[in-house]
């Protein structure tokens, strides 16, 4: 567990002086943040150049970085500081170690800046785990976007999400709920579903994994059970919905049980309203909003989606029929089979853990519109890969048709382009990319610096109001379409 009092990154990670010198304009009175942090720092280079990276990847650096992960861990070689296995099907140990060296230095540097920000605002560091933060402003938002120090996260999330306010008006409730659970208030259905998911939440995390030598259940598993059961009776219209286990699991690594419970209440009620209800209509609405955003910001992917709604019977040469007005809101595109779970789990398990945590920093500070930004950012980043796979395929088809390729094949190439791709194949390509691409986003700055913090990229104009309005519109539209199509009978 990440407990601030046990952690001092300074002890294990000595900042690289060269970097500090170039990145910060330190002075004695504590106004020790980078000038770039104050102004438009889109271009700030928090990643060291490639050449430098190579140079720095010495054994010593690696050892240091590993120490950074070993604070709570018996096995820092294989597990990260949160207890997650470093390797995955998509990430090799070597790649991980290389990233870790780089990212530990980044984190250390960011933390120094946070410390300076807080001391400038006369906020007590409270034994390396501040309880409060400056009032909201652009500068603070930028800090949050660049990552909250890992040791501070629990309290920072709690603070930004307004957890204490929620708890203050509900003092004692969590204890009462727990008692009710013990008295048998949880429905058999929810209880069974929760029990089944306890060990299926983070099997790759040592805190949630029962080793053969362990006698009882891990404490984390017990907490996970209590929070999920308490929530199932707290909000009967939700009960237990799969994916909440991931939210609770991750929260528990950063804060105590009761706080975790109230954070779950905030996520399910405020950030993702209706998403976990028994008809998951909120999830469908959010996917509708995402589709509208794609339409506006990601034309390549949109054109793919759109083609599945017109009568795209390419091989028989039928003329595409006009699209019934926004049919894609009631009959969501195949792509949303993947993206719906991104939202429901708030990206837990979708992207590697450090990237998830960076997203959560912003979720609690900026609310749910940030999830949409991330989703669009990931789609944007994967777009090139998607296009690449598309062109590779075209190339192969083309080569086989032209026996190795000739100069005059351009027109046949064009013909082929229309011919070979069925909608299902295209769906598969895009889904395959979208399913696997995020799992390789080991370095959060890959998406944060390239997409989310770039002013040039227009999706930055999305704010909470845009999303809230979108949700209202999509919900209405879905209702309307449902009502008008009801006489025809079957629903699915």
């Amino acid at each position: 567990m990440i407990r601030s009092s046990t952690i001092s990154t300074e002890a294990v990670l000595v900042p690289n002086e060269r970097v500090v010198d170039t990145m910060s304009s330190c002075n004695e009175d504590g106004a020790n943040y980078s000038v770039l942090d104050l102004y438009d720092d889109d271009e700030e280079d928090d990643n060291v150049s490639l050449l430098e990276q190579k140079e720095l990847l010495t054994t010593r650096e690696l050892e240091k970085a590993k120490a950074f992960t070993s604070l709570v861990m018996a096995d820092p070689e294989n597990f990260d500081r949160y207890g997650f296995s470093k390797k995955s099907y998509f990430i090799q140990q070597e790649e991980y170690d290389k990233w870790l060296v780089e990212y530990s230095r980044y984190s250390e540097r960011r933390k120094k800046k946070w410390e300076n920000l807080l001391s400038k605002n006369k906020i007590n560091l409270h034994n390396d785990n501040p309880l409060t933060y400056p009032a909201r402003n652009e500068e603070l938002k930028k800090f949050v976007r660049k990552g909250i120090p890992a040791e501070w996260r629990g309290n920072a999330w709690w603070h930004f999400a307004g957890g204490q306010e929620k708890l203050d008006i509900n003092v004692g409730m969590y204890d009462r709920l727990k008692e009710d659970c013990r008295a048998g208030a949880v429905s058999a259905k929810d209880m069974e579903a929760i029990e089944r998911d306890l060990y299926r939440t983070f099997p790759d995390n040592i805190h949630f994994h029962k080793e053969s030598f362990q006698r009882g259940e891990p404490a984390m598993i017990q907490s996970l059970r209590r929070v999920l059961m308490a929530f199932s009776i707290y909000d009967g219209s939700i009960g237990y919905c799969q994916s909440m286990n991931f939210l609770v699991g991750l929260l528990l690594l950063f804060m105590e049980e009761e706080k975790t419970f109230w954070m779950l209440v905030i996520i399910t009620g405020k950030y993702l309203p209706g998403v976990y209800e028994s008809d998951l209509e909120g999830a469908n609405v959010d996917q509708g909003v995402l589709v509208l955003c794609i339409k506006e910001y990601l034309p390549e992917i949109w054109s793919h989606i759109e083609s599945s709604y017109v009568n795209g019977n390419g091989s028989t040469g039928q003329i595409p029929r006009p699209n019934p007005e926004e049919q894609y809101l009631s009959r969501l595109p195949t792509l949303t089979l993947c993206t719906a779970s991104w939202f429901m789990s708030c990206f837990v398990g979708v992207v590697p853990i450090e990237t998830t945590l960076r997203i959560w920093d912003c979720l609690f500070y900026e609310e749910s519109h940030f999830l949409f930004k991330v989703a669009l950012g990931i789609l944007k980043l994967s777009e090139s890969e998607f296009l690449e796979s598309k062109s590779q395929k075209l190339f192969r088809q083309y080569s086989s048709y032209t026996f190795g390729g000739g100069n005059d094949a351009d027109s046949s190439f064009k013909k082929l382009k229309n011919k070979i791709k069925t909608q299902e194949e295209a769906d598969m390509e895009i889904l395959q990319v979208i399913q696997n691409f995020p799992k390789r986003l080991l370095n959060p700055n890959e998406i944060f610096e390239k997409i989310l913090m770039k002013k040039k990229i227009s999706l930055n104009s999305i704010n909470q109001e845009t999303i809230d309005r979108g949700r209202e519109y999509v919900a209405m539209e879905r209702n309307r379409q449902r009502a008008s199509s009801r006489p025809q009978g079957k629903r699915n």
Partner: protein, 223 residues
């Protein structure tokens, strides 16, 4: 001839969906068949995941694209597109858990309602390694499968028993259907049809790579 492959050098593409209660082992059947892997503690699946494996039948390379989704009932509401274009389905239950078997009826009607009429269906009793905990007699499932014209196999994703067999039988059945259809249709377009979601008058099953969806109305009402 296995493992995830991203290539496009195949002749036919079959989309196959896995359905069944939460915890019956859908994800492990998928990983056993496509990657030959099994996880004692796998994560609960939310949303939809898929993987592929390419097989050869009659000298044709067939790419089977297997889809896996959350078993929890409420997830049906966000997975209506799950069945789009599926030519095969495996309804999975856990032989040690009778409720998961009893729910197969429900899964079957869910499938019939949402998928193409010609979809090939197999029933799978998974976790056959848990023989000492068996709660569903083989004969009973066999009868149920026969009555409903389903293929039937008992498998163990844990020890691999019959996993390949179950998938291969299903793929073979699909292939037979498709080639029969192909002959019926003579030569109308070797490259297959795009299955635009709103294509209204397509044949029930196209010659591949995928069938046309013929449940347009139900699709339009989905939510």
């Amino acid at each position: 001839m296995s493992s995830e492959d991203y290539g496009y050098d195949y002749d036919l593409l079959f989309k196959i969906v896995l359905i069944g209660d939460s915890g019956v082992g859908k994800s492990n059947l998928l990983s056993r068949f496509t990657k030959n892997e099994f996880n004692m503690d796998s994560k609960s699946t939310i949303g939809v995941e898929f993987a592929t494996r390419t097989l050869e039948i009659d000298g044709k390379r067939i790419k089977a694209q297997i889809w896996d989704t959350a078993g929890q009932e409420r997830y049906r509401a966000i997975t209506s597109a799950y069945y789009r274009g599926a030519v095969g389905a495996l309804i999975v239950y856990d032989i040690s858990k009778s409720s998961s078997y009893e729910n197969c009826n429900h899964w079957l009607s869910e499938l019939r309602e949402n998928a193409d009429d010609n979809v090939a269906v197999g029933l799978i009793g998974n976790k056959s390694d848990l023989a000492h905990l068996r709660a569903v007699p083989t004969e009973e499932s066999k009868t149920f499968a026969q009555e409903n014209q389903l293929l039937f196999t008992e498998t163990s994703a844990l020890n691999s028993e019959n996993v390949d067999k179950a998938f291969e039988e299903l793929i073979n059945t699909i292939y037979q259907k498709v080639s029969k259809h192909q002959m019926d249709l003579a030569d109308s377009g070797v490259t297959g049809n795009a299955n635009g979601a709103s294509a209204p008058n397509g044949p029930t099953i196209s010659l591949t790579p995928t069938p046309n969806e013929n449940k347009k109305n139900s699709g339009n009402n989905c939510c």
